[in-house]
Symmetry: C2
Subunit: 415 residues, 2 copies
């Protein structure tokens, strides 16, 4: 069974000048993979007629499906719709369903409707209109030379609704796809070269349709097995068998058997033990708490945090001793230990993470250079500490510290 | 003066299956714009020989410069280097400087050196080696048919070092570029259709080389003017003149006169007033604090936060009355007001933000649907409250709440 190939075209000058990070493509690729479609290229072009047409032509030649986002807003810089209309040889006509939705949307918000809003109900008469429940610009489905092209708004929330409710179901109806499966093992504490060396015989014996990829990720290493095969059940069984072989070679360093964020991996452990958690964060400034609470349902195990950026907050809220700060400094084993003990007390949780470090670019010294971090994790009368030294810039040092702290607590929970 | 055109090719299966969001391209585009280079396309392809070669060929035809990241790791799935070597007709030879760096790096970390690490010092003999101070894989500069191709590692920290120290300076030496300038006005409280209507005469009179773009962004609207012109000084003067005309039409809704994150805009206001700040966060779970502390130097005005996810933390740490929670609920004007007052007291700051809301997908009710948020901002004896209702998914509701809270405090500081 042949792979069904997809190209994703994102349109917008903001993507080419770096004003916006393209998160749409990654989300779309995941959804498409789950449905068995193979994304072979992603292209970003500006709001420029010739650039859009060139991308449509080139990607239409190489893929079965071309998904397009962006450039559908009500202002003059958005030109995707007229360009698509010309490219597919249509003319703009009013779509009654879209028109009614727009009128209703503005009415319910108590806003007047401008001509440019009404014009969003104009669609090329050569497309199938896909209803966008979340905004004014509808999705548009075109077909040409047996290829499918779908245009969606660039607003992530609107694009996601269209993908889930319209685009993916319709593509699944149209195409028979092979099984396209990934299985990721997450490991910690061993560099990719050494892991590769350890599993090189395993890698050599993999059947050619199973591919192994190595992805270092914030101090962890992701090992991804990917297969494409006609039958989903036998493909999954074969992939699982190979995965378990690989896992067996790396038992000591396994963190998780699926590609999940560390916050989700930790959440599973907390739920399994029935433990509540909190954080005392200095250098990460609330980022660990933010990552934990990004997960729906986290209120079941997360109670709260004290972000003690200033020493006075460490003392007044967490009860860190002035003498400790004076003698050892804010970035020290003694201080994180007292931060952890204080957080356990004021937050009333079963376990905590506490971090204090120097994220840079300033604040480092010969003794405690930028990247020095002390982490404490544990519960009452049972606190473990660990020192890390990261070598990156501020943003990456913060991310590394978050993953490291959650990983330390994960290990503590497994003791 | 002609535009110097750039294509960016990112290589890696993880980009095509959505395992990784490509943040490299946006960062590179910003750097290139500052230096006067025009990014016209971004392409992501997998770790696959034919796909890489096709991208090199196509982008080499349309751009002066092709920048390539990814696929340079020490494992078998990374194939960029041999493909480049073949494409440019070279053979792999050891680069002595890279070899010495690798040996030193492993020695200093107390790790053995494997053959696959040593092999990272192999480079095509047809490239100029660019020293990567931050990792084992060097940058490689190729020239073919008067086009320039530069390959860099995909690890963001390493790519950034190479761009700043080697790639951009060398490109600037090679090319004379026109001025490429952006100037962004950030507004709040008026939809893009209405803003567009308000400034349509302004938009109509813009000279053809100045482009206006509208970018809605988390409840704000960014209006970006872009110009490309031969002389930097006169281009900047002309752009400034048009920018001030536009600004003059939108005085009431201006948030900032540069494209900065809301956390940075707020930081400037705080510093100007000499005010310290803290947060009391329920539904945002520390995300506001995380965004504030992402800024280097934020310890000058940010003292800390209480993330009071559980009601007991609201009571025990912030001093919210049990009766208030019982009578009005956690998501209420009364509760955020007490959270703000409590945070001012325990954190000892001049001003605070407090938020409590329902981010979804669960927890909503008829009276308080998902997206309901109460925000309190202010200082001692002077707390303002506001209710918001966002209509999105959990992640977007959290982001919207953060921007809204910081925007409310910004307005309070301007009173």
């Amino acid at each position: 069974m042949e792979k069904i190939l997809v190209s994703i075209i994102t349109i917008g000058d903001e993507l080419l000048i770096g004003q916006t990070v393209d998160t749409n493509s990654a989300w779309m690729a995941q959804e498409l993979n789950h449905a068995g479609f193979w994304v072979q290229r992603r292209i970003a072009v500006g709001d420029e007629r010739q650039a859009i047409i060139a991308a449509l032509e080139e990607e239409g030649k190489r893929s079965h499906i071309v998904l397009i986002t962006g450039g559908l807003g009500p202002t003059a810089d958005d030109i995707t719709k007229p360009v698509l209309c010309d490219y597919f040889g249509g003319r703009l006509v009013r779509d009654e369903d879209t028109y009614q939705r727009i009128m209703q949307m503005f009415e319910s918000r108590g806003l007047p409707v401008l001509q440019r809003n009404v014009d969003q109900a104009l669609v090329p008469d050569v497309c199938t209109v896909l209803r966008n429940e979340r905004g004014t610009a509808p999705g548009m489905w075109f077909e040409k030379d047996e290829k499918i092209y779908v245009s969606m708004p660039g607003v992530p929330f609107e694009m996601k609704g269209l993908m889930e409710n319209e685009v993916v179901p319709r593509l699944q109806e149209r195409f028979e796809t092979p099984a396209l499966l990934h299985h990721t093992l997450i490991t910690t504490g061993m560099g990719e070269s050494f892991v590769a060396e350890k599993i090189k015989d395993f890698e050599a014996q993999l059947p050619p349709h199973i591919k192994l990829a190595y992805l270092p990720s914030y101090g962890l290493l992701k090992l991804r097995l990917t297969t494409v095969a006609p039958d989903k059940i036998s493909a999954a069984a074969e992939l699982h068998k190979e995965f378990m072989k690989m896992r067996g070679l790396l038992t000591d360093i396994v963190v998780a058997e699926a590609d999940l964020p560390m916050s989700v991996i930790l959440a599973e452990k907390l739920k399994a033990k029935g433990f509540s958690v909190g954080t005392a964060e200095s250098c990460t400034g609330g980022t660990i708490a933010s990552q934990i609470t990004a997960i729906a349902g986290s209120s079941a195990y997360f109670k709260g945090s004290v972000v003690s950026y200033a020493n006075e907050v460490k003392m007044n809220v967490l009860g860190v001793q002035a003498a400790t700060l004076e003698q050892y400094g804010a970035v020290s084993e003694e201080t994180v230990r007292e931060m952890a003990a204080g957080a356990l007390k004021v937050l009333g949780t079963d376990c905590v993470m506490a971090v204090s470090g120097i994220m840079g670019p300033d604040g480092g010294s010969a003794e405690k250079p930028v990247g020095t971090v002390w982490i404490a994790v544990g519960g009452h009368n049972n606190i473990h500490t660990k020192k890390h030294h990261f070598r990156y810039d501020r943003a990456r040092n913060i991310s590394m510290t978050c993953v490291a702290a959650m990983n330390e607590l994960r290990k503590w929970l497994e003791l």
